[in-house]
């Protein structure tokens, strides 16, 4: 069961360098043509590679305490406040727990949702992007739910 007291919990800020080689690797892994530019723009989902920059201290998600056996990634959203980041940009990310709420599932069970926001600012302090992760805990393990 999720912990509603997690709302507002914030992680430590973390640095994330947007690198040409990483953009190239991510492009190849997602069926895209490797970009030829010196400073290519990142793909829409590239900020998921923040995994490589985050630490336990920067990730507040465990505070939500969603059951790992019944937890699923329901939605993921990226909002860009201008062009997406490009190679050579140094971002600072910070995550915080947004909402925790419940909904009645279509099959009768209660679903618990939790939302985490991660804001990415560039070297000038401009907000470049916001990631929104929505996790859901189903009433039964996913394997029994299909």
């Amino acid at each position: 069961m999720a912990n509603p007291d997690a709302v507002g919990t914030a992680g430590e800020p973390f640095r994330m360098d947007v690198e040409r080689g990483k953009i190239r690797e991510f492009a190849i892994a997602t069926g895209a043509e490797p970009p030829a530019d010196e400073h290519p723009f990142a793909q829409p989902t590239f900020l998921t590679t923040a995994f490589f920059w985050q630490t336990d201290e920067s990730n507040p998600w465990p505070a939500v305490e969603l059951d790992q056996q019944r937890g699923l990634h329901a939605e993921q959203e990226y909002t860009f406040f201008g062009p997406p980041p490009r190679a050579g940009t140094r971002l600072t990310g910070q995550s915080r727990i947004g909402e925790v709420y419940t909904k009645q599932g279509r099959r009768g069970g209660e679903l618990t949702f939790a939302v985490m926001y991660t804001d990415f600012h560039d070297e000038t302090g401009r907000l470049v992007a916001r990631a929104k992760l929505t996790g859901v805990e189903t009433a039964r393990p996913p394997a029994e739910d299909s």
Partner: protein, 134 residues
């Protein structure tokens, strides 16, 4: 009026595709590559990271509308993708409009399995190039 390119077919997809994405993204959850781990969790085989098929839709959309032009990308994960699946990435225009002096387009993107089931749906907004409103 912009129109979506032809659907893009990917696959049959393989464990290698899943692992290459996992290495690139940094999400090394073993349920996506470790047979024994996946079976112990009640799944017949490993299955793809949902973000992989979502990212295929990102590739389809940026080929169409340009990587620099994306302004939002909202993903809903639906069905799992399994080794051997053949995926079809397609899109359609929802609306074109002007906001903050820029021409924009909202698109809906879907990644379908060969069964006809939807693996991932994306709602995304792009700025339209060469179409700035003075």
């Amino acid at each position: 009026m912009t129109t979506a390119p032809e659907p893009w077919t990917v696959g049959p997809v393989t464990r290698t595709d899943f692992v290459r994405y996992q290495g690139a993204s940094g999400d090394m959850n073993p349920i996506h590559h470790d047979e024994e781990f996946a079976r112990a969790a009640g799944f017949p085989t490993p299955f793809a990271v949902g973000m992989w098929q979502a990212s295929l839709l990102g590739t389809y959309a940026t080929r169409w509308l340009g990587a620099e032009n994306v302004r939002s990308f909202r993903i809903r994960f639906l069905e799992q993708v399994w080794p051997g699946d053949t995926l079809t990435c397609q899109g359609k225009v929802v609306k074109e409009y002007t906001e903050d002096g820029e021409a924009r387009v909202d698109v809906e993107l879907t990644c379908l399995r060969q069964t006809g089931g939807t693996a991932v749906t994306v709602w995304s907004t792009f700025v339209l190039e060469g179409d700035h409103v003075e």
